[in-house]
């Protein structure tokens, strides 16, 4: 991706220094170091879950990092009239702010947004990740989860940022608790003791062979506790993180800056999820760039990538939990102690 234009000599300079021993990077990092990642959840109060993520320099430090904002909005969909899918669905969309890519024309910007949308949507709406609690009433009503991600600025490694923001927003998502409202015809279903009082309609007591009671008759739902934010979206630990391996044969490095990205011929995107109970899963891969790579090498890269992914995953997990405490427990304590 030509997000920035560099001269041949500049590219060659960056490539050479990355391959030298010890490898040299513009900001002094080692090859496998990430820049500082800042994360904040719950930034959009009206969304059901939201997060802001910054790689590099956060805005309050002067800005200039890769900044991505993700928000989840749940909508009720009617399955019967064909609006929704039974069991709910996930729709992701990514839009790139023109400020993030000032050099791109609006068409190119749309293309870029579309590429990112496709990647995110295909990965996250995959059945293997589908959370079970998006269903409100089987075959009748379901939640449509809209995940909207905005790229506010791009200083490299936007895909990792994209997935991390998406994961944080989904992790933060609370699904309002609903209660099915149903009417079950209780013809003759009175207690036997009541029947002593009532001599009428006693003939309907025996069970019918065509008992259809197992089919839910629920037609609508209600919100039992409307003050409550709801329960967390199921599969909190499943949402994948993405690690971009920037491949510079024979080696690779992580978290590229825009200049490094421009001088790297090939990038391998690995989206991995780390379920607590099972072994890690590779949810998606993408190869980007004009370079070439042999299949045998990819296997090694994926193994390496899993290692980095797990590190990123556990760091993110720790931060997410900390955010949760900050926003609820600590804030409440502060209020009580005021």
């Amino acid at each position: 991706m030509a997000s920035i234009s560099l001269s041949k000599s500049e590219k060659s300079y960056i490539q050479t220094s990355l391959l030298s021993t010890p490898p040299l990077r513009g900001d002094g990092r080692s090859l496998l170091d990430y820049r500082t990642i800042a994360l904040e959840t719950g930034i959009a109060p009206l969304a059901n879950g939201s997060a802001r993520l910054n790689i590099g320099k956060p805005t309050h430090e002067g800005g200039g990092g890769t900044e991505v904002l993700g928000a989840v909005k749940l909508e009720v969909e009617d399955v019967e009239n064909g609006d929704g899918v039974d069991g709910g669905r996930i729709v992701c969309s990514v839009s790139c702010s023109p400020a993030a890519y000032p050099h791109l024309s609006s068409n190119a910007l749309d293309d870029l947004s579309y590429d990112m949308t496709t990647l995110l949507n295909q990965t996250l709406s995959h059945p293997s990740l589908h959370p079970p609690n998006l269903c409100i009433l089987p075959k009748k009503k379901s939640w449509c989860l809209n995940l909207d991600v905005i790229v506010l600025s791009d200083s490299g490694n936007v895909y990792d940022a994209l997935f991390m923001a998406a994961r944080a927003a989904l992790w933060d998502t609370k699904v309002p608790i609903t209660r099915a409202v149903e009417y079950q015809a209780k013809r003759g279903g009175k207690n036997p003791q009541e029947n002593t009082d009532v001599d009428m309609d006693t003939e309907t007591e025996q069970q019918s062979g065509f008992d259809t009671r197992h089919i839910s008759r629920a037609v609508d739902f209600e919100l039992p506790d409307y003050w409550d934010e709801g329960e967390t979206l199921a599969g909190q630990d499943l949402w994948p993180v993405c690690v971009t391996l920037n491949i510079m044969p024979p080696t690779y490095y992580l978290d590229a800056t825009p200049q490094e990205e421009a001088s790297t011929p090939l990038r391998l995107l690995l989206a991995m999820s780390f379920p607590k109970s099972a072994s890690s899963r590779l949810q998606a891969t993408r190869l980007l760039g004009p370079g070439e790579i042999e299949l045998s090498q990819i296997k090694r890269l994926i193994q390496e990538g899993e290692k980095h992914g797990r590190e990123l995953y556990s760091a993110l997990e720790a931060k997410l939990r900390e955010e949760d405490v900050r926003r609820n427990q600590k804030a409440r304590d502060k209020f009580v102690l005021r």
Binding site: V76, P176, V181, Y183, A185, K190, W227, R327, Q329, A331
Partner: protein, 992 residues
């Protein structure tokens, strides 16, 4: 340099500053709503002269000191449930401790019940109450945040306790001294929730249950009766609840009911009790053309007349026909004891008996008349209100007949549609023989009767004041005197107000035509004080006739959206009782400033036509005007004047002119198919103004002049309706009368055919009018009127509507055979007319239309109220007439020393009785037979067998003329006077 501080709160405090909640919209979407909350330190505590708060309060600093448990004074802080279940107590005049009403409580009450919330709001504004609304959620010390996993209820309870704690610590500050806390007034948390009480006591708060609190007040005896029955545990802790078996099926949960209604498995409708049979009711639902029948206590399942219920309809094989027997609650349930009726032993017997009644009926029901049958499975909305009742004397236990101890008694509502209500009272002996107001609190599925509490006594039964008030309460007529805010809307000059002299600068004269020189007169019933219409007619040089209808310009005085307007909209109509008029507008307007009295100048809204001598409209115009009526006639005077050939003056001429036009207008209307309907109308002669004892009842007489006025009012209404509909097609206030469904007439058609061999063509109003004209029995002139009365009952009632809300082709007025109609001519006594006046004024560009009249939903809402009030007012005046007819009969019985006999027509036959209509008295009644008689439902006859009559069988059929003995019998249990009828001719039925 001004010091600027930024008060914007950082996002990190979101938990405290933001209140988030979800809302489900009508279309099934879920919306997240976010409210910002700003906590302040200056929310006032409401205690007068508080040293810590700047706001002025209304609570006395020492609190209330009259309570035995709190000698140092106290303030009351009730929780939500106290208001939800004990509102009558709170509203009582005797209950006046200073009350702290928390915002949390207010919000919760609003969420749970809007009517109670409105009562509570009114209470906070009442002068005799000392209630301070404390915004505890906005005061930083008392605001709380919901904990993880805390239910909303627990959160609110915690908030209430926190506020109580705060008040307790605030009181010493309020007094501005650090006195020992024992000498300070206490804040008492009033709650019936035992768990909450325990928690509060653990926190060291003063707390009390409602009952315990009331027992310590000064007027505890009267107040204890006002306590609603809540939860058995507090009242009858010893009684074994489990031992009782449920008499009724449980209701389905609300949500399930709504779901059932939505999926069309259940039906929703108003529950109508059957006045003739207390074990039967019906519900009209859109899914069936016939109402759904509910037979027996279990299937009616605790529904009370007027409730909106959800019903389940049985399979067609179980459908039943309505009962044709009169089943009276009082006779069937005579031996029921109020104290014991919820225990098993004796209750069984009664149930057994009821079951027998139902079954014996069932066998006799003709299978041909089956209609959908079902049962109540849930209540969508209770429409319980306070009911006027009598105490059932037999339910008083003999041992305590004079003591003041608490006992359970039955109250029998005046209305036959309601079940008896069980209540506990200490004042039972005093209440016997009085009319009392009783509210239903609840109806458990273990209890045969609803339980209620005594609200207040209205006075001695049959005293006029008590009867009058009970009538007004029963029909929900607002009869309070007008408040100060309303009277402030009247002109400041009061009754000195006159039309100012004509001048260009006068606002009254702006765009008004000066019609003072016209010979205008008014024709009204004798003694009419609110003259809202006047007429004139004169010949024009071109041979045509100018006729004018002048209506009091009420909209000049009643301006939109002020307190008087709001009150008038709420009252909807003036209610006429026999001896009292409950005005819609203050009487200064109704009987003076707006009344078109003779010889004074009055503002009017005039409709002026140019008509050809054949009463064809050439031209019509509308204008605001100033008139001076030249004469106010009664119908009789006008008739005499017109018929007197010696009178040749201008007024008489114009009367004759009007009359000639009216005759042609009426002919035109009749040709178009208007119905000449009849309803029983009688007139009560009052003896004298002081005693107002009725002396006699006579039927109203109709003169030619009645019809004269009527024709011109109709013409004015139709002309105005056309004009406002043209100008405001979306929001015009119109009136319509829907054609009745043909099935309504089936029974009448069948009776007419079988009994008289006559046919009724109901294909159109014109055809109906023509066939009604043919229903003549040469031997019986009153027969035609009787058929008309019965036909009228088959029709729907006319209603006001907003023109944008219904389809254009349903605008028609069936009875008048007019394609469009409105009410314009009586703005003093009908609110719809006031709206029509405003719209007409706007359509002639006299004044801009108030924005509310551009809003379809607003107009609809107002008209819904007016429609309901109108119906209620009609029923109230009918009931008032009935009461006076009863008094008159009683007086006559005493005067004539014996039986009063009247001629009557049979209008309905039952298995064990006859429904008769006494046209001379305008009342309907039942003749009951105690012995077995032969009943032929297909031919509408009842045959009294010869064993009873002594010689031959006597057959009585619908439409037969009989003579009945009319007696007023006083029920010795309930003190309720009721008309008892027995046949005198063709056979004396007193022993049958």
């Amino acid at each position: 340099m001004v010091d600027i501080t930024i008060r914007k709160r950082p996002d990190t405090e979101a938990v405290i500053t933001q209140r988030k909640f979800f809302k489900k919209t009508a279309r099934g979407k879920v919306i997240k709503v976010l409210r910002e909350r700003y906590l302040r330190d200056d929310v006032g505590c409401g205690i007068q002269g508080c040293h810590a708060c700047a706001e002025l309060g209304n609570l006395p600093p020492a609190g209330e000191t009259g309570h035995s448990a709190f000698p140092m004074g106290h303030f009351l802080l009730p929780d939500t449930n106290v208001f939800l279940s004990q509102m009558d107590l709170m509203e009582s005049n005797l209950f006046s401790p200073p009350i702290i009403l928390l915002q949390t409580v207010l919000d919760e009450v609003r969420h749970r019940s809007l009517p109670l919330y409105n009562r509570l709001k009114a209470l906070t504004k009442a002068d005799d109450k000392r209630i301070w609304v404390f915004y505890n959620e906005y005061r930083s010390e008392t605001a709380i945040v919901r904990e993880e996993g805390e239910t909303p209820n627990d959160r609110n309870d915690r908030g209430i306790r926190k506020a109580t704690t705060w008040y307790q610590s605030h009181i010493p500050l309020a007094h501005g001294r650090s006195a020992s806390s024992s000498a300070m007034p206490k804040v008492v948390l009033l709650t019936d929730d035992a768990a909450n009480r325990r928690k509060a006591e653990a926190e060291g708060l003063a707390v009390s249950s409602v009952r315990r609190y009331v027992e310590g007040t000064k007027d505890s005896n009267q107040l204890l009766d006002l306590l609603a029955v809540v939860g058995e545990d507090s009242i009858e802790p010893t009684r074994a609840v489990a031992a009782r078996s449920a008499l009724y099926a449980d209701y389905l949960p609300t949500a399930a009911v709504l779901a059932g209604v939505k999926s069309n498995q259940l039906h929703q409708g108003h529950f109508n009790a059957n006045p003739y049979n207390y074990l039967e009711g019906s519900v009209s639902v859109p899914a069936f053309t016939k109402p759904v029948l509910l037979v027996g206590r279990e299937n009616m399942n605790r529904a009370v007349h007027g409730d909106i219920v959800a019903i389940e309809v049985f399979d067609e094989s179980e459908w039943k026909a309505p009962a044709d027997e009169v089943v009276d609650q009082e006779t069937t349930l005579k031996n029921d004891d109020a104290e014991d009726s919820d225990e098993e032993g004796e209750g069984e017997e009664v149930l057994e008996q009821e079951k027998k009644v139902i079954q014996s009926e069932e066998n006799k029901r003709p299978p041909s008349e089956k209609q959908p049958t079902g049962r109540v499975v849930g209540i969508i909305k209770r429409n319980w209100r306070a009911y006027v009742c009598h105490i059932d004397m037999s339910s008083l236990s003999n041992t305590h007949s004079t003591s003041l101890s608490q006992q359970t008694v039955f109250a029998t509502p005046v209305s036959r549609l309601l079940p008896r209500i069980r209540l506990r009272t200490r004042q039972a002996p005093q209440l016997v023989g009085q009319k009392i107001l009783v509210t239903i609190d609840r109806w458990d599925n273990t209890s045969r009767y609803p339980e209620g509490h005594f609200v207040r006594a209205l006075g001695k039964a049959e005293s006029k004041e008590a009867e009058q008030e009970s009538l007004l309460l029963e029909f929900d007529v607002p009869y309070r005197p007008f408040g100060k805010a309303i009277l402030d809307c009247l002109p400041v000059e009061g009754d000195k107000w006159v039309v100012p002299p004509k001048s260009a600068s006068s606002s009254e004269w702006r765009d008004r035509e000066d019609l003072r020189q016209l010979t205008i007169c008014s024709i009204d019933p004798p003694g009419c004080q609110d003259i809202d219409d006047a007429l004139h007619a004169k010949r024009l040089p071109n041979g045509n006739i100018e006729a004018g209808v002048h209506i009091a310009d009420v909209s000049h005085f009643v301006l939109p959206d002020n307190p008087m307007d709001t009150e008038a909209a709420a009252r909807g109509t003036t209610v006429y009782l026999v001896d009292k008029r409950i005005d819609m507008l203050p009487s200064l307007l109704g009987t003076n400033l707006c009344s078109l009295r003779p010889y004074v100048e009055r503002l009017a809204f005039s409709v002026i036509w140019e008509l050809t001598p054949d009463a064809e409209i050439v031209n019509v115009r509308f204008t605001k005007s100033v008139i001076a009526s030249k004469a106010a006639f009664t119908y009789e005077e006008a008739q005499l004047r017109k018929d007197d050939p010696h009178m040749q003056d201008e007024i008489t001429e114009s009367l004759r002119l009007l009359n000639s036009l009216a005759i042609k207008l009426k002919a035109g209307r009749m040709a178009a198919g208007a119905l000449n309907l009849a309803s029983p109308e009688v007139k009560i002669h009052l003896d004298s103004a002081e005693s107002s004892d009725p002396v006699d009842v006579e039927q109203k007489e109709l003169r030619e002049t009645n019809s004269l006025v009527e024709e011109f009012m109709l013409l004015a209404n139709i002309s105005v309706a056309k004009k406002i509909q043209e100008t405001f097609p979306q929001t015009a206030v119109l009136r319509r009368h829907l054609p009745p469904p043909r099935t309504n007439f089936e029974k009448l058609q069948d009776i007419l055919k079988k009994r008289k061999g006559m046919t009724l063509d109901v294909s159109s109003s014109g055809a109906l009018a023509a066939s009604l004209d043919k229903c003549i029995d040469t031997n019986e002139p009153a027969f035609n009127t009787l058929v008309r009365i019965m036909a009228t009952r088959c029709m729907l009632s006319a209603e006001y509507f907003c023109s944008g809300s219904v389809a254009r082709d349903t605008f028609g007025h069936y009875g008048l055979a007019s394609p469009i109609y409105t009410h314009f001519t009586s703005p003093i006594r009908r609110y719809a007319d006031v709206l029509a006046h405003r719209q007409l004024a706007a359509s002639i560009a006299y004044a801009p239309l108030h924005p509310s009249l551009h809003s379809k939903s607003h107009v609809e809402r107002v008209l819904d109220v007016v429609n309901r009030r109108h119906r209620m007012a009609q029923m109230a005046s009918r009931a008032s007439v009935e009461f006076y007819v009863g008094l008159a009969l009683k007086a006559r019985g005493e005067r004539e020393q014996g039986l009063v006999q009247e001629e009557a027509f049979v209008i309905r036959t039952f298995r064990n009785g006859l429904g008769v209509f006494i046209s001379k008295l305008g009342i309907e009644g039942l003749v009951m037979f105690k012995r077995e008689v032969k009943f032929d439902p297909d031919n509408y006859t009842v045959t009294l067998p010869f064993e009873l009559t002594g010689n031959n069988d006597v057959t009585i059929a619908v439409f037969d003329k009989v003579t009945v003995n009319v007696e007023i019998e006083k029920d010795k249990n309930t003190q309720r006077g009721r008309v008892k009828l027995t046949l005198a001719k063709p056979i004396d039925s007193r022993n049958m």
